[in-house]
Symmetry: C2
Subunit: 423 residues, 2 copies
Amino acid sequence: MTGPINELEQRIIDSMPAIERWFRLEWMEHTPPFYSSVDIRNSGFKLAPVDTNLFPGNWNNLTDQMLPLAVQATMAAIEKICPEARNLLIIPENHNRNPSYLMNLAQLQRIFKMAGLNARLGSISPDIKKPTELKLPNGETVLLEPVIRTKRRIGLKYFDPCTILLNNDLSAGAPGILEELYEQYLLPPLHAGWSVRRKSRHFQSYEEVAKRFGKLLGIDHWLINPLFAKVEQLDFNEGTGLDNLATQVDALLTKVRRKYKEYGIKEKPFAIVKADNGTYGMGVMTVRDAKELDDLTKKARNKMGIIKDGLSVQDFIIQEGVQTSERMNDAVAEPVVYTLDRYVVGGFYRMHPERGIDENLNAPGSSYVPLAFAHSTHMPQPGMHPGASAPNRFYMYGVIARLAMLAASYELEATNPDAEVYD
Amino acid sequence: MTGPINELEQRIIDSMPAIERWFRLEWMEHTPPFYSSVDIRNSGFKLAPVDTNLFPGNWNNLTDQMLPLAVQATMAAIEKICPEARNLLIIPENHNRNPSYLMNLAQLQRIFKMAGLNARLGSISPDIKKPTELKLPNGETVLLEPVIRTKRRIGLKYFDPCTILLNNDLSAGAPGILEELYEQYLLPPLHAGWSVRRKSRHFQSYEEVAKRFGKLLGIDHWLINPLFAKVEQLDFNEGTGLDNLATQVDALLTKVRRKYKEYGIKEKPFAIVKADNGTYGMGVMTVRDAKELDDLTKKARNKMGIIKDGLSVQDFIIQEGVQTSERMNDAVAEPVVYTLDRYVVGGFYRMHPERGIDENLNAPGSSYVPLAFAHSTHMPQPGMHPGASAPNRFYMYGVIARLAMLAASYELEATNPDAEVYD
């Protein structure tokens, strides 16, 4: 890799103790999300998180070498949240029986067991009426059991958990069964679900974090911060609001062009339009010119209007596109970094042989090849030539992921419906 | 491996969540030592810690795979002790310029840097009058700088640390330069030094811990607890007190024989006599029969009376010998487990090709071959046949090491000269 990112890497490696201290001080004031995965894109001149998932799946893609870190981080988290706990209930997605997703659940269960909690899987899906054993590709099984609600708590038959861990992003809204659980810890909280959460709110917090971090390092925060704008009341099917969208895309691309000029970047800027509460790569579109929006096909419009669980979308975020210049086995790749408590515990590359460098790689209907980071994110090698050290690059990715996680923490504080207001 | 230890292993693996919870609750009441290394011996019928070092060296023997765990545990420790800290001062041993020891210092420095502290080496040796660069076998260097004392603090020139980490066991007593430092964190505290600490006090605490843990698991605590007795005012050179020693050795061996009979163990019991404040394997003797004490050679007596830094010894501990039945490349081996904060972060085997299964392997003048644990201590595999799974054995070793670390925590609380007494 070449380009301004190498300078950024150098700056980050040189400032390692200052950066770690900065995070320590931040975590004195803010609570990290229990867990997260952060999609990162590295264009060689810009490095930015593009998605911060607070209900991360794919834990099965972490290598065995990374697991001890995840276990240790879980121990640290439990110690703070509920040291006396014995039982933890994991609530998986309702309808996902994809073998890879089930492997993810088995892995999460394993991590919690090793950290010292009896962890079981409680489904809130109406399909699960009795304990249901599901086979995994490796011959093992996972047991999904129906969640039982009592007046003040939820649990399984003969299993009363102290903590509930959501691995279900609640796209369809928080179900009644999870509401008013004042006696149990619910992690992450309900307002982290995609029925409440907005990407634009997250990136507003991320911008705040990136500015402060940029100041600490003495760098232009644009290098790590994708520009964005929010567009509301847009109806792709009816065509309502498309003019406004085109205007805003144009304005954003103009800003990006100005930055490209400032840095002597020859690439063509592009924007990503996506559902403000979308997940799973549904409702995502790459726009290289606002004019493209004039002649969208009916199919394209249809695709943009619907996300997971058939929900229709009206609010969108336009985000500066960050192309990915990482390649793994000739395929376009983007790093995904996993955090638990305040710690980076691992990551892998998401790859998509059929997609371009300016397209969303987290796309439905197409597989991606996980590739564990060959080196830990904890092992920077000061003194190495910038860009030449994989551990240094991974450390940098771990820093960016933690900035996104910190932004999620700001975001959840700001959107907490139960927060006490001291105005 | 065969024998009762396999049953213990099974019990420990089955009770994993209960054990982890038990430790969590203990750490709510007690503070773990900042770091430690624990020598463990596994005889196949008994598993016990034989030495708990609160100033561990040999960090360089941990593999690169274990380092991220050490870094993460250090982050957790710093967060609790001094989140605002920028600088940490490591105080090494005064006269040790052994290349392996210097590599150990470089490794510690590396761990702290990665955890986000500027870590420098400050010597309190009168030999170090100016910054002194020392070469490491790998071509790198470490810089030893003279410690500067001001009225209330210590530091280096232009370097004011918030935390002082001792990697010097203070065998010769706490030097004045380290006393009355009320503004800085001194870890471990001065009373953890070998001029104050007593092995018998440690094993008194360990017995308490082992009894409670035995109760939790429903096992005879003798399986993990070496019997011991304390002998004071013994002068090997003059021969004073040797009668008393022989009587006590005999009494201890009788107790051990009774336990061996109870468990149908055919081995011949033995006892270890060692300086109650000894380190570095000096002043250690294996006794198979109390009669051996009648005809000790002058040389043997001399050897027992002197430990590190030429200090003479009067207080001894007699400890039930635990033979080691672990072998690595045909050499007698014993596991050494490393902890940081409350976490097990790694370990290796200490080997000694020339020594027997009932002898002390941590012996001066003879090298040992470090062998990193092939598997993490965090990755037990429930369901494996007892004794057949290295990860399960290592998890068990990690549990025993944490029991010893917990005992050290009890011990340091009980011996704290500044403790407030509420009697």
